[in-house]
Amino acid sequence: MSAQDPQMQFSEAEQRELAQFLEAENAKARIQQTVHAMTDSCWDKCIFKINNKTDRNDESCLSNCVERFLDSSLFVVKRLEDMRSSAV
């Protein structure tokens, strides 16, 4: 079972481990991409003046912005499903 080129081949166990690892890193990267997009949009909605610190109002605006964005996404999906099921 030894490979011709041990430097280039991973054992089955290592391959499984790498596959899992890549899956996890990809999921993490997708989350970070979404965070970038939401920060972009929520910054425009919440931050008007550049202050010396991020105050509680800014923080809650940003949090609300994220939550409402996700609520909106769920709403849109649900409505599309309703539209589809009623358009027989």
């Binding site: 041990p6 430097q7 991973f10 290592e14 481990e17 790498l18 690892f21 890549l22 890193e25 993490k28 990267a29 989350i31 970070q32 991409q33 979404t34 965070v35 970038h36 939401m38 920060t39 972009d40 929520c42 910054w43 919440c46 931050i47 550049i50 202050n51 010396n52 991020t54 800014d58 923080e59 940003l62 949090s63 912005c65 994220v66 939550e67 996700l70």
Partner: protein, 104 residues
């Protein structure tokens, strides 16, 4: 998990003992993804902070504009962390709900 301050390693690039080839690959992937994330963040900061701090571009970058840019960078990174915590928290709550048959 998603705080900007997680930083990144470039990997040692040292001699690959048997079995650490896998580790090398993993470090390389982590490094590349972290770099891509950092670049995205830098691009966003440049765009947003230039808009906020240099509304009327002059012949040079004034000290007030520089101070604003500095503060803006801090504010943006803090905003990123707030958004990240809110998002991850929501994901965790949603998936916990589903496990227990949530959603009426």
């Amino acid at each position: 998990m998603s705080d900007y301050n997680s930083g990144y390693n470039f990997g040692s690039g040292a001699s690959a003992d048997l079995g650490s080839k896998k580790q090398e690959v993993m470090d390389k992937v982590r490094g590349e993804l972290a770099l891509a994330n950092a670049q995205e963040l830098i691009n966003k900061i440049n765009e947003k902070c230039y808009d906020k701090c240099v509304p009327k571009p002059g012949a040079r970058l004034e000290s007030g504009e520089q101070a604003c840019l500095s503060k803006c960078m801090d504010r943006y990174m803090e905003a990123w962390n707030v958004v990240s915590r809110a998002y991850v928290g929501r994901i965790q709550r949603e998936s916990a709900g589903q496990q227990f048959g949530g959603g009426m």
